[in-house]
């Protein structure tokens, strides 16, 4: 019930394309859904996050779409650039209670953007 399933495992797009990464969760108590970006040799860095009271959130070229009834959320990267090539992780947690902040991560998606 704590799993977060992420797909695809890897993704290759051309510059300007719109890669989409999908995640599904099981625990209905989750109420905070961040996406992290990780470059080789570095720790993950928060990219964008959403709470379940909205269905979409956009920050720059990055958009999260959230479907509460389906327990799914996805990351869209508009006008992708070679510098976006990285590993992307979705995650989920509860914003309160004793489990506060304990992130459950997806398996990651390796994104490659060709020039």
């Amino acid at each position: 019930q704590q799993q977060v399933k992420q797909s695809p495992q890897s993704l290759i797009v051309q510059k300007g394309g719109i890669p989409i990464i999908n995640c599904a969760y099981e625990n209905t108590a989750f109420d905070y859904f961040p996406w992290y970006q990780q470059f080789p040799g570095k720790g993950p860095a928060l990219l964008i996050a959403i709470r379940p009271d909205v269905s979409e959130k956009k920050e720059g070229r990055f958009t999260i779409s959230f479907n509460k009834s389906a327990k799914q959320f996805s990351l869209h990267i508009m006008d992708s650039q070679p510098g976006d090539s990285a590993t992307y992780f979705c995650a989920a947690s509860r914003a309160g209670g004793t489990s506060y902040g304990k992130l459950t991560f997806g398996q990651g998606t390796i994104l490659t953007v060709h020039p």
């Binding site: 993950p44 928060l46 992130l103």
Partner: protein, 118 residues
Amino acid sequence: GAGVSQSPSNKVTEKGKDVELRCDPISGHTALYWYRQRLGQGLEFLIYFQGNSAPDKSGLPSDRFSAERTGESVSTLTIQRTQQEDSAVYLCASSLGLGRAPRSGEQFFGPGTRLTVL
């Protein structure tokens, strides 16, 4: 520095030896987390410290793993009698902690310690 720092950056040890990994969180962050990242995998939660509360140890994989944190500062993750399956990158993260809106959930990660057990 302004970010989370971890040391050492790389550690190679022999099976059966004990290792200590260190994390220096961002100043003022009351919450601290340890995660493990195996090659090609997502991050697995290990342990969570929040202020002076009892830590959430629910993610520790065995009693060979332990962690300590002094107040709201440095934390040490100790792995006793290391096994080859302990080889991974160990990541530390810190956050502002409970009740610190608006982005109190944001965790800032360090660069990790790559542990190799031979």
